[in-house]
Amino acid sequence: MLRTEGVRKSYGGVRALDECTIEVGEGTVAGLIGPNGSGKTTLFNVITGYAKAEAGNVYLAGTKITNIAPDKVFTLGIGRTFQLTRIFPTLTVMENMLVASRHARAADRKRAMAQLEFVGIAGHHAALAGTLSYGQRKLLELAYVLVADPAVMLLDEPAGGVNPSLVNYIADRIRELHAAGKTFLIVEHNMEFVMGLCDRITVLDSGTVVAAGPPDIVRTDRRVLDAYLGEDVEDST
């Protein structure tokens, strides 16, 4: 479904991604892990058009989408969230939901409301998004990406900085969507969350893929342990 091939990207001489090749199968929940600064977010940025790849390509369902603008990437069917949640603070929650909408207002509103109910913040639909708590913002960002119904969803640390009960809540929502056939690529530090959710995990280190495979195999891979050596693997915050 989503594939990168030999992607390279550097910032001021530091190579953030080097020959990075990953593959996300249709209808799977893929995990992307690695120590801080290993290039996970950079890879997200390259895929979604926020950063330009210096070499290599990105394919969505076989079509080359390398280095096209973020709005076009989204139109083609890739939605994403950000590590530091980015919502529209002076728009109401409902207006946030409608930014990505394309069709008639009434129908869009109805679907948006349903989606807010799904993530559990429908009661705040008329509040300004800037007044939401951090966890609610995470849910709102998830909701407005979901409402646009992209084929692939890239989630950047959905469990980062939220309390444990909300982490479980978010995981449950992702499982439900997965069951409905959605494709996910998730960056996460919370190992429990990743291992419990993903079908397949890719490990990045210094911008290169060091391992890929089902969770239990990756968990025991020596290279992964090396990559995390000295890192506090389990700590998510």
Partner: protein
């Protein structure tokens, strides 16, 4: 709850009707041309400030180059009337040309300027503004150089003249307010406001930011060009420093912020108060300096005590009155700027 909404709607409709009635009957009640003159300028600024607001207020791109469109609209009408020998009432037929020229300039201008953000955008608009003013000076065979262009003489009495211009300006203002309200309700307006909050994020949600910004810029430019033409015919003359006037740019921004940037009624109110007040103070305090100091002090007072403009601040007060005793969530929400709101909210996770 529905009752409250309905009651608000009725109150709003009534208020609008009163306002519209007052606007239409104003020249009949105060027929002195000395008074209607204030009305004409106030309405020209209502239109220009609302037009600025539809682009800058909604998108957050502060343009200090609106005079480019204002002056170009004025010159377009003037040059066309001069070269095509249009005289009498027929000159009003040239006003759409002012709008067309405004929009036609906005497209290439926007394609260049809208690639950069914040301060750099502001400075590019200032730079383009000066390029236009210099062109008006230097392309003298076309623009008349420093002498400028004069409008055909309309043989009307003072009262008729002002009254007709009042209604023309009122029509422009009403059309612009309706457009602004329409944009704010529309998906287009939502996208503009999303761009203001976080442009990159909005792009990641499929908002074609350049197209949206450019459309708003051109719309704003067209209306500004249109009233530039009206202003020219009313003043009967345009010269480079008056058509392309940096103080016009600052006044427009000032009026929008005074009333409440990004709202519909704020810019209207800002223009209705400031333009006449400025004209009145300048004329009256003939010692001159005092009027300047007073004007400066007034602006400072507004910025310091109503930092978000009259309309949002008044709105907050109303909300506070209504929700006395209850936590005023929307008011607090409106007050919270994104950064500080973010910080505050980050402290307490759900």
């Amino acid at each position: 709850m529905m009752g409250t909404v309905t009651r608000q709607r009725i109150a709003a409709a009534l208020a609008l009707a009163v306002l519209a009635g007052a606007a239409v009957t104003f020249p009949l009640v105060f027929s002195s041309p000395a008074t209607t003159n204030y009305g004409v300028y106030a309405l020209i600024f209502v239109t220009a400030v609302s037009a600025w607001n539809v682009f800058s207020g909604f998108s957050g791109y502060i343009s200090l180059g609106q005079a480019v469109f204002f002056g170009s609209g004025a010159y377009a009408v003037g040059i066309a009337a001069r070269d095509w020998h249009v005289s009498g009432v027929a000159v009003f037929g040239l006003l759409p040309l002012g709008a067309a020229v405004g929009a036609a300039i906005a497209v290439p201008f926007g394609l260049v300027a809208l690639r950069v953000r914040r301060h750099t955008f502001i400075v590019i608009t200032i730079a383009v503004f000066f390029i236009f003013q210099l062109m008006a000076y230097n392309l003298s065979s076309f623009t008349g150089g420093s002498v400028g262009v004069s409008a055909p003489f309309l043989p009307w009495t003072a009262t008729t003249f002002n009254e007709r211009f009042y209604y023309i300006a009122l029509a422009c203002a009403v059309v612009m307010i309706v457009i602004a309200a329409g944009v704010r309700r529309s998906r287009f307006g939502l996208q503009l406001r999303a761009i203001r909050d976080d442009e990159d994020r909005a792009r990641g949600l499929g908002v074609h930011a350049m197209r949206v910004k450019l459309a708003a810029f051109a719309l704003s430019a067209a209306v500004t060009g249109l009233v530039g033409g009206v202003w020219f015919l009313y003043l009967t003359q345009v010269q480079p420093p008056s058509g392309f006037d940096p103080l016009f740019d600052l006044s427009v921004v000032l009026m929008a912020f005074f009333g409440g940037v990004g709202t519909i009624s704020g810019p209207v109110l800002g223009a209705l108060i400031i333009e006449p007040a400025q004209l009145y103070l300048t004329a009256t305090y003939t010692n001159g300096y005092i009027s300047e100091i007073m004007l400066g002090a007034l602006f400072l007072a507004v910025v310091l005590f109503m930092p978000r403009g009259i309309i949002p601040t008044a709105g907050e007060w109303i909300t506070r009155l209504r929700t006395r005793g209850r936590p005023a969530v929307p008011a607090a929400a409106a007050a919270a700027a994104p950064q500080s709101a973010g910080k505050a909210a980050a402290g307490d996770t759900a």
